[in-house]
Amino acid sequence: MNYKKNGEEFWNNFALVPVMDKDKRLTHCVSIQRDVTSRRQQDETTRKRLELLVEERTRELNEALRKEKDLVELKSRFVSIASHEFRTPLSTIGFAAESIRNYFHKLTTEEIKAKLRKIEDQASHMTNLLEDVLTVGKSDAGKIKVHLVSLDLREFIESLIEETRTIAKIKRKISFVYSCAPGNINADDKLFRNVFTNLLTNAIKFSSPESVIRVLVSDREKDILIEVADEGIGIEENELTSIFESFQRGSNASAVPGSGLGLSILKKAVELMNGSIEVKSLIGKGSTFKVRIPKR
């Protein structure tokens, strides 16, 4: 670096050549200086461009690695949960079928019928699990389309509560408060069913049979608010985000059967309807899920 007479900085290429006489004694030196500022600036620009390119490529590589890691984790969670969730109904089917085959003459017609019903129920449970896995796949591939229909929301939710109660086979105290303005709403009934039944099924599964589940449906200016609150086992604070990922379950939920897909499907359904979901929870006290779906 050197300075011009006017004080301006410039990059200097400096060469100093010694000059000798015939006896090889140094007589003087010749110096050549070249202003290389512009070349230096060009080099600097190229270096910065290359640095940015390397940064960008590193970022892309890290992102690809993160996605790869997520996929490996997802695959391992899928294998672990799906295999466990399939093993139990498969066992029931296997034992029931074996009983019928090996002890046919020792069983009454009613007992055989009950076993066959159980086989059907378990096969249907496994089909639902498979459907859930396929729904997640379809949703990830953007293959689910929204189809709006006109719905009597109160009637629709009442029927979903009854349906979920029947499937759960347990009489639960469910307090339902509906305070929306009269009239039908436009919504995708399949997605809406998915959201609501998943919320209610979870509330039933993760709370004691004696506790009350509160369902509150109200409308705001622009959206419908669905709140489902239970007095169940709750969710750890550091898991309130991860529980919405596929095959991810709360650390305190391992004793309760489940695929870890319900909340992930629910979130995808809410997003397809341009809605939002939030959850508040306290361990041992319960969880409250709030879903907001824009009115159409």
Partner: protein, 125 residues
């Protein structure tokens, strides 16, 4: 009649396993978790315990550990959908005599149970 204490929280499955044991001539009682099983243990006085691992409340691992503090000889079979090598090692380290992966054949389960009861009987005599 040999007595089996079956610990399984999935009701439908518990009913089917219990049926197979009954049809094979065993006297079966069921419990839905570890605490429930410990309550039944004294009054039922089983010849063998067949337990699941993942259950609400006290799980199968804790149950095996507790039972071993009460009896070092009663045979325990773990029957579980948790099938990682680490689960099998832990179950056996805690004192289970056999680990059976779900799903399995009823005849295989009955034969394992029969053999363990017989071996325990021989050991006692």
């Amino acid at each position: 009649m040999k007595r089996v204490l079956l610990v399984e929280d999935t009701i439908e499955l518990a009913e089917e396993i219990a049926d197979i044991f009954r049809l094979e001539g065993y006297h079966v009682t069921t419990a839905s978790n570890g605490t429930d099983a410990l309550d039944r243990l004294r009054e039922f006085n089983p010849d063998i315990i067949v337990t699941d691992l993942l259950m609400p409340g006290m799980d199968g691992f804790k149950l095996v550990e507790k039972i071993r503090t009460l009896s070092s000889t009663i045979p325990i079979v773990i029957l579980s959908a948790k099938t990682a090598e680490s689960d099998i090692s832990l179950g056996k380290a805690l004192g289970a005599n056999a680990f059976v992966r779900k799903p399995c054949k009823g005849t295989d389960l009955v034969s394992i149970v029969a053999k363990l009861i017989q071996n325990n009987g021989i050991a006692k005599t």
